[in-house]
């Protein structure tokens, strides 16, 4: 699954930095019907988490209230240089993973 993550290239140790995530997903609520009156089955991303330097810094349970192609933004405290990994999974077993690198000084 397609997604994007953005972190600043550098940060000072102990400072907080913003992590921005955009995931391509229909986020179908399960409440809608198509033009023929048939129910459109639910299809949503329900788990999203982020690790920075092997440490879990953020996790969220998303629900039907999120729009399609959800955009999530949050802050983490810079501890060590390394990869910021964002992973998510949907209710049909689909998963996605994007990474970015941050240099902590």
């Amino acid at each position: 699954m397609l997604g994007r993550v953005q972190v600043p290239p550098t940060a000072k140790k102990g400072e907080s930095f913003e992590i921005r995530v955009l995931v391509q997903h229909p986020m179908e609520t399960g409440f809608r019907r198509d033009v023929n009156g048939q129910s459109i089955p639910m299809h949503i991303v329900n788990q999203l988490s982020c690790t920075s330097g092997g440490r879990k810094v953020f996790s969220a349970e998303l629900g039907t209230g999120m729009s399609a192609n959800p955009y999530v933004s949050f802050y983490a405290v810079a501890q060590a240089s390394g990869e910021v990994v964002v992973e998510w999974s949907d209710d049909r077993g689909g998963t996605g993973r994007v990474t970015a690198t941050i240099q902590v000084s």
Binding site: L2, R4, L22, Q24, P26, M27, Y71
Partner: protein, 249 residues
């Protein structure tokens, strides 16, 4: 008296021979959107249309690089020149049709259906290579007839509401309709991500939404009438900077 009448008649024929007055100064559609939507389109990360651009880049790398190479060079300004006359096909085609003609004719692959994720992605990716390039469509020579057809469609009343495009987009742009601000109808950033659709959509999908809005019969995707209208709109938008992918409410 007779002289005045003759002069009036001459002025009238002169006016008829020319194109009807156009919005001045011309503005792209994004300038009629709310501050939040403008910020979303300008954001190089959070603009959701960029997801389709990325998807299009993946398709491009698979399908197109062996002939066209680096899109940054080979596709720069291409979208800003479309729709344009395709000599081989003998008709005016828009960017979607041009891409599909290449897929079917050169690659001998299955045609990409209109509004499919792959065609939207490729169109958005090729369109994004023309960011900042001024729209410059050719309306001379054999393309003239298509342009004239587009002009007729633009100025013709249609649908149960009996409205023509020009009544809103030339005469009432900047005013409110259904809590939206009426734009000048300059399609410089399509395909665009429309929040109402929760997805990317082509210009033809947007034009069909306008047909639906005035309760007129909607032409099929890729119909010659929609391409003619697209060419006319492109000629109206001449000189405006292309800014694919757009975001709309």
């Amino acid at each position: 008296m007779r002289l005045a009448a003759t002069l009036a008649a001459a002025a009238l024929t002169g006016a008829l021979a020319q194109d009807p007055p156009r919005p001045h100064p011309p503005k792209g559609g994004i300038e009629f959107q709310s501050a939040a939507v403008r910020a979303m389109q300008a954001d190089e990360f959070a603009n959701p249309g960029l997801l389709w651009v990325e998807r299009g880049q993946a398709s491009w790398n698979q399908r197109c690089t062996s002939c066209h190479g680096d899109a940054k060079q080979s596709m720069k300004g291409v979208a800003a020149r479309h729709p344009r006359l395709d000599a081989a096909l003998g008709r005016v085609v828009n960017l979607e049709q041009r891409i599909d003609a290449c897929v079917v004719g050169k690659q001998k692959a299955a045609s990409l259906p209109y509004e499919s994720e792959e065609l939207l992605g490729l169109t958005a990716f090729v369109g994004a290579q023309s960011r900042g390039v001024a729209v410059q469509v050719a309306i001379d020579g054999p393309a003239r007839a298509t342009y004239e057809r587009g002009k007729v469609l633009y100025n013709e009343r249609q649908g149960q509401l009996n409205l023509a495009c020009n009544q809103c987009h030339d005469g009432n742009y900047g005013r409110k309709m259904l809590h939206d601000t009426v734009s000048q109808g300059h399609p410089v950033d399509w395909p665009a991500y429309r929040l109402e659709w929760q997805a990317m959509g082509s210009l033809h999908r947007r034009l069909r939404a306008c047909y639906f809005g005035v309760r007129a019969e909607m032409p099929a995707y890729g119909a010659p009438d929609l391409v003619a209208l697209e060419l006319y709109l492109g000629a109206r938008a001449q000189g405006l900077a292309s800014s694919v992918p757009g975001v709309r409410r």
